[in-house]
């Protein structure tokens, strides 16, 4: 079932990752590999551990063990703020737009961590709504605009690995379509993307590989080529 990435092109390798919130053991030995420029999805029902996997990569859980290798370097012991410096960009499920900052202040907030990030001009070209609303407080943006801003915020930094959590949740179909186009564009620019998504119809055409989680474990890895024959099983497992 699994298709391991070419180790020479491997960007992210997670081995035997366990994560805890207080006394609760949430992840039970996650293993995954994502190659440079690939898009992988984490699929599963609510509570299966998808968001916790992203948060564990960033160090946003109270305790984690195992190994997280980024570009061949072990990063599991590093503090959260160093993760962005390693080139990891995070778009959380709740978007986390800062209400007391304007759109442009939100956009410019993260430090640039590497060269190759998108310029502000390119970002406004990709998300024209943000240009129109650049002086509006973050709290006055619509859900779709907040989602675009959350995406735009990490694209400027030079991050090469994007962790996107439920980016289509609660958005109008036209915005979802726009986000699909943005992800396709980002893939063509060489970004590596880990996508947590409930909207399987949105994720399926974008991803090179799907990891299916249940109760904090990966129960299946399905490549793009294997997807058609696994659709029935997936629908049953995910309840979609």
């Amino acid at each position: 079932m699994s298709t391991p990435a070419n180790p020479n092109r491997e960007m992210l390798r997670i081995t035997d990752l366990h994560a805890y919130y207080g006394e609760s053991h949430i992840l039970h030995g996650i293993d995954l590999r994502i190659g440079r420029g690939e898009c992988a999805t984490l699929l599963g029902r609510n509570g299966s551990g998808r968001t916790t996997t992203l948060k564990s990569i960033l160090g946003l859980v109270s305790r984690r063990t195992g190994s997280i290798m980024l570009n061949g370097n072990e990063i599991i012991a590093e503090p959260t703020h160093r993760m962005a410096r390693h080139g990891i960009g995070y778009v959380p499920e709740e978007r986390a737009i800062f209400a007391s900052l304007s759109t442009e202040e939100n956009l410019m907030l993260p430090p640039q961590v590497a060269s190759g990030g998108m310029s502000v001009g390119e970002i406004y070209e990709m998300f024209p709504n943000l240009l129109e609303r650049r002086n509006s407080p973050g709290s006055k943006l619509s859900g779709g605009e907040q989602q675009m801003l959350a995406m735009a915020r990490v694209l400027r930094t030079g991050a090469k690995l994007l962790l996107l959590d439920e980016i289509t949740e609660g958005l109008a179909p036209v915005i979802v379509k726009k986000l699909g186009e943005v992800i396709t564009e980002l893939k063509s620019r060489g970004f590596t993307i880990v996508l947590v998504e409930q909207n399987f119809r949105f994720a399926a055409p974008l991803a090179d590989r799907h990891y299916v989680l249940e109760h904090g474990e990966i129960i299946a890895t399905i490549s793009k080529q294997e997807l058609p024959e696994k659709m029935d099983w997936l629908h049953q497992t995910l309840g979609v």
């Binding site: 946003l60 703020h81 993760m83 986390a96 900052l101 907030l109 993260p110 430090p111 915020r153």
Partner: protein, 293 residues
């Protein structure tokens, strides 16, 4: 000349005293607001840190001959560094706990600091001369303005609005505002929040020490000077809205003026007027005048 039957000199001098007290309220409540905003800690040691500022300036002058101007710069740095040490060694362990733990710890620290100074210097006040450059006064026609008191207002307004500018108009201020809302996300965006928190506490403490040095020539320098003031300052913070920067500045100055006017028109109420206003604000707008519910 009389205004509402009150001699203008009396009214002017009480308003001036009110504005001076308001300047101290504004600087101290601003420091408390910044600290509470990012650290979620009610810094009960703020009064003691204000007292440390005044005492260190007095010690610097009497023991080492270090003048007021050097003390005005160096003392906030020294006391701010002491704040950094407190944050790194003690406060840091409390961030995930209830506010009450921070309040109790800083209250204990305040008692220890005050106890040490009482043990060393007793409770009688020490005098600190007004620097020569700021001695004397100016006759404004309707009242006499001591230059040093005018300087306090100018210095306090400069520091308060400089701090406001830093928070509202600079990148560092954007980090602070964002960190106040969601510090985990700010960290995930690559900003070193633990360092930001240390800086914020150190800066808040340095503001208290700055107020202490400003106060040394006008109030008696004694170990209890902070604890007398800090209760009113907490009322100012509650009225302005916990964590609100502009609320602290405007409310601090405004309440100082109201207190001054009360001394003219109804002196018996002057020591409680701030608390009466606090009760009314809490009943009508619990988040404070500038706070967000």
């Amino acid at each position: 000349m009389e205004i509402f039957g009150i001699p203008s000199a009396l009214l002017g001098s009480q308003l001036l005293i009110g504005l001076i007290n308001g300047s101290f309220y504004a600087i101290l409540s601003l420091g408390l607001a910044i600290i509470f905003g990012l650290l979620n800690i009610i810094n009960f040691a703020h009064g003691a840190q204000y007292m440390m500022g005044a005492f260190i300036a007095w010690l610097a002058l009497t023991k080492f001959g270090i003048n007021y101007w050097v003390a005005l710069i160096a003392t906030p740095i020294i006391v701010g560094a002491f704040g950094v040490l407190l944050e790194r060694t003690m406060l840091r362990k409390l961030y995930k706990l209830d506010h009450l733990y921070g309040l109790l710890l800083t209250f204990g620290i305040a008692l220890i600091i005050e106890g040490i100074f009482r043990d060393q210097f007793g409770i009688s006040g020490q005098s600190y001369d007004v620097p020569e450059l700021l001695s004397g006064g100016v006759n404004l026609g309707f009242m006499f303005l001591p230059i040093y008191r005018g300087w306090i207002i100018v210095a306090a307004l400069t520091v308060c609005f400089g701090t406001w500018f830093m928070i509202e108009r600079t990148k560092l201020g954007a980090y602070l505002r964002a960190g106040t809302e969601n510090s985990q996300m700010v960290q995930a965006l690559g900003i070193n929040v633990p360092l930001l928190i240390t800086f914020t506490y150190g800066y808040g403490v340095a503001l208290a020490a700055f107020a202490g040095v400003l106060a040394a020539p006008v109030f008696q320098v004694n170990p209890l000077m902070g604890s007398h003031l800090i209760i009113v300052v907490f009322a100012v913070v509650v009225i302005g809205g916990m964590g609100s920067i502009m609320g602290s500045i405007v409310t601090g100055l405004g309440l100082g003026l109201i207190e001054g006017l009360t001394k003219v028109f109804y002196p018996e109420a002057s020591s409680v007027i701030v608390f009466v206003i606090m009760v009314i604000v809490l009943l009508v707008r619990p988040a404070g005048l500038f706070g967000k519910a």
